[in-house]
């Protein structure tokens, strides 16, 4: 297949990212990389088929977008529905139960990504044999580390079960509050393993930091580029993963906007449709589709916040920012380090919450004046997640708009792939090294392509190079 006389290479699918994806690399007549595209090949239609459903059903319906971070969708939808029922000022018990659920999710998701999905790249190198470069390979060679990963994920999942009722697709958050509190017995169960989790988080952070620092020469340029960054921050500028106002900065750290009430997100964000992907391309409206794209997720959050309100993560943040003299860090592979700082932050937050007696409170739900339109935002593990709904008099949804975390990173992921292809493609031969590196660059963003396309899964890897007439020059499949 030719595109305007260019040659094309296809990598399908991208494995060990959570979702469907396919990469094509287009070459020009001189066999130089002209353009790279990450195609999102799944489409579900959630925006349309939730219409007509009652609003109170939405938090349990839309979480089925993604079984990897269902809590994020559950809570973003619930936050919007709080606003619909006029119950956005939650009781302390409700807010803290939800935060515990969210930090539990952050903890398990970051642990899953680091130990199950990326550690093979970091431990075995990008060129290691496919047969061992997976979590089972890690378990065989580094059993203690694999067990750590499994047990950390389990701890987070158990927190989700205790707050949401189920490990996957829970029901805990309801419009205006929560449907249970945390029993003393549940709390004590978590306190028992807490110190171990803190310890393991410290050591995971150390692995990520040491790896990044030791390989800085290669990593600094690997799929890296300057970009704007966007996240929620607290009113005082602190990192806040559950709630806050929108802040965007440019690659130098200058403010684009700050402390924006997210109910007004439509004044700031638009999404461009491109014909070759089901995933849209968000941008900051004032900067336009060409220049307005930005990054979200752990790296962006480290760059946008002015401090972290837990001591160990704050110390780690200072070290992280020192690497770039306090300026925003634009190194794609630094996502891993930033993610592990958030892992530590999450467990520090969990610790503080578990010692808070409000979790045993019994005042669970509030209500106020009913509204018919609402926006709910949250910092999901992979970045800022937007949910926006309109509801009619019969309590039915009439409009739903979702901008999921990974969608926000669409343009950055495409750029990362293009850069890596430029750096590592030579001639028209497909090498394992190229395949792996393209995947490593995408994986840094921890894309949940499930969310982004409202779908997920993985397929056989196939890469093709075609000439301008559509003849296959080289093909490689695993």
């Amino acid at each position: 297949m030719s595109t305007n006389g260019m040659k094309k290479i296809t990598i399908e699918p991208v494995t060990r990212v959570e979702g469907h994806g396919k990469v094509t690399i287009l070459l020009d007549e001189q066999n130089q990389v002209k353009q790279a595209r990450l195609h999102i090949v799944e489409f579900r239609g959630f925006e349309r088929f939730v219409q007509g459903r009652p609003y109170w059903e939405v938090p349990v319906l839309v979480e089925r977008l993604c079984g990897i971070c269902p809590v994020s969708h559950h809570l973003a939808a619930a936050k919007a529905m709080d606003w619909i029922v006029g119950g956005e000022n939650l009781t302390p018990t409700a807010e803290k139960m939800r935060r515990l659920m969210h930090y539990g999710q952050m903890f398990q998701s970051h642990a899953l990504h680091f130990f199950h999905l990326c550690s093979p790249d970091l431990l075995f190198g990008f060129d290691a044999d496919v047969a061992i470069r997976n979590v089972i390979g890690v378990a065989a060679k580094y059993p203690a580390l694999a067990v750590q990963g499994v047990m950390m994920r389990k701890y987070g999942q158990e927190l989700i079960k205790a707050t949401a009722g189920k490990k996957i697709h829970g029901t805990g958050a309801i419009p205006g509050g929560i449907n249970k509190n945390l029993s003393i017995a549940e709390r004590d169960g978590f306190l028992k393993d807490l110190d171990q989790m803190v310890e393991w988080s410290r050591s995971a952070l150390k692995i990520a930091k040491d790896y990044t620092v030791a390989h800085l020469d290669t990593l600094a340029s690997f799929g890296s580029f300057e970009s704007s960054h966007l996240s929620l921050v607290r009113a005082d500028g602190a990192m806040d993963l559950y709630h806050g106002n929108l802040k965007a900065i440019d690659a130098e750290g200058n403010s684009i906007f700050d402390q924006v009430d997210y109910q007004n997100y439509l004044d700031y964000i638009r999404e461009e449709v491109r014909p070759w992907s089901y995933m849209k391309f968000p941008f900051i409206t004032s900067l336009g589709p060409e220049k307005g794209w930005y990054r979200v997720g752990p790296l962006a959050r480290l760059n946008t916040c002015t401090f972290i309100d837990t001591p160990e993560a704050e110390a780690a943040r200072k070290e992280f920012m020192a690497l770039t003299d306090g300026k925003p860090n634009n190194i794609t592979m630094a996502y891993h380090w930033a993610r592990m700082i958030e892992l530590l932050h999450s467990i520090e937050k969990i610790k503080a919450l578990l010692h808070d007696a409000d979790l045993q409170g019994t005042d669970l739900v509030t209500k106020g004046n009913r509204r018919d339109e609402a926006v709910g935002l949250i910092e999901a593990p992979r970045g800022t997640l937007f949910h926006h709904y309109r509801v009619n008099k019969n309590d039915q949804i009439v409009m739903a708009n979702l901008i999921v975390s990974t969608t926000n990173n669409n343009e950055p992921m495409n750029r990362a792939v293009e850069l890596v292809a430029r750096q590592h493609l030579s001639g028209v031969k497909i090498t394992e090294g190229l395949l792996n590196r393209v995947e490593v660059a995408i994986r840094a963003y921890d894309p949940c392509l499930s969310c982004a396309t409202h779908a997920l899964g993985k397929m056989p890897l196939e890469m093709e190079i075609l000439d301008a007439e559509g003849n296959v020059l080289d093909r490689k499949a695993r």
Binding site: T10, P13, T15, R16, E18, G19, H39, V41, E42, F43, R44, G45, E47, R48, F49, Q51, L61, R64, C66, G67, I68, P70, H116, R133, N134, V135, I136, P143, V147, V150, M151, K154, K167, I168, H169, L266, R270, E271, E272, V273, P275, W276, S277, Y278, K280, H388, M399, N401, I403, S450, A455, L456, G457, K458, M459, P460, L461, E462, A477, R478
Partner: protein
């Protein structure tokens, strides 16, 4: 004797069923003593390496690619299991079945309040697999040997069923492990 192989895939699912499989936690280490994982999203194996004893299918079929993958699983696996409500009956994605596909596209790519689409194009590219007009449960596409209900099925359900199958015992799930939700 070589260990039996198990392959897994996610079609039109949310990956929650795979996550539920990971929720067997440290029993995953026991599982890899019993079996070898073949083609699966959790490793980098992208093509079947041979015949598999068991194939676990998450999600129904919403596009031609899903159908192709499902047929490939049928051809390579002695036992095929529909895992979760999406594979078993279409699940939440099948909510689109009584809505014209065009309306779903229009909502996502034209009418949405944050959409910027001056040309009014709907994504359409040779790289994007063709969507089916409806989302189909797996047993309407190929023969399925077992169905495990749940959204997702609890980790214990997956564990008990797999171990029973792999050790040639009857699958005898207690009431508490069989749930639709």
């Amino acid at each position: 004797m070589a260990k039996p192989k198990v392959a897994t895939t996610s079609l039109a699912g949310c990956f929650g069923c795979h996550m539920s499989l990971l929720d067997i936690d440290d029993r995953i280490l026991k599982l890899v003593e019993l079996i070898d994982f073949d083609k699966s999203p959790i490793n980098d194996i992208k093509k079947f390496t041979g015949r598999c004893a068991v194939g676990l299918i998450e999600g129904g079929c919403c596009n031609e690619e899903n159908v192709r993958v499902l047929q490939d699983f049928r051809n390579h696996c002695a036992i095929l299991i529909s895992v979760g409500d999406c594979a078993t009956m279409g699940g939440i994605p099948a909510l689109r079945n009584n809505i014209p596909l065009q309306e779903c596209y229009d909502e996502a790519y034209k009418n949405g309040p944050s959409v910027h689409n001056p040309s009014g194009q709907i994504p359409n590219d040779p790289e994007l697999p063709l969507l089916l007009d409806k989302v189909f449960p797996c047993h309407e596409v190929v023969k399925i040997d077992y169905h495990l209900p749940g959204c997702p099925p609890p980790a214990d359900t997956l564990w008990e069923a797999l171990v029973a199958l792999l050790t040639d015992k009857p699958v005898d799930l207690p009431y508490t492990l069989i749930k639709y939700d």
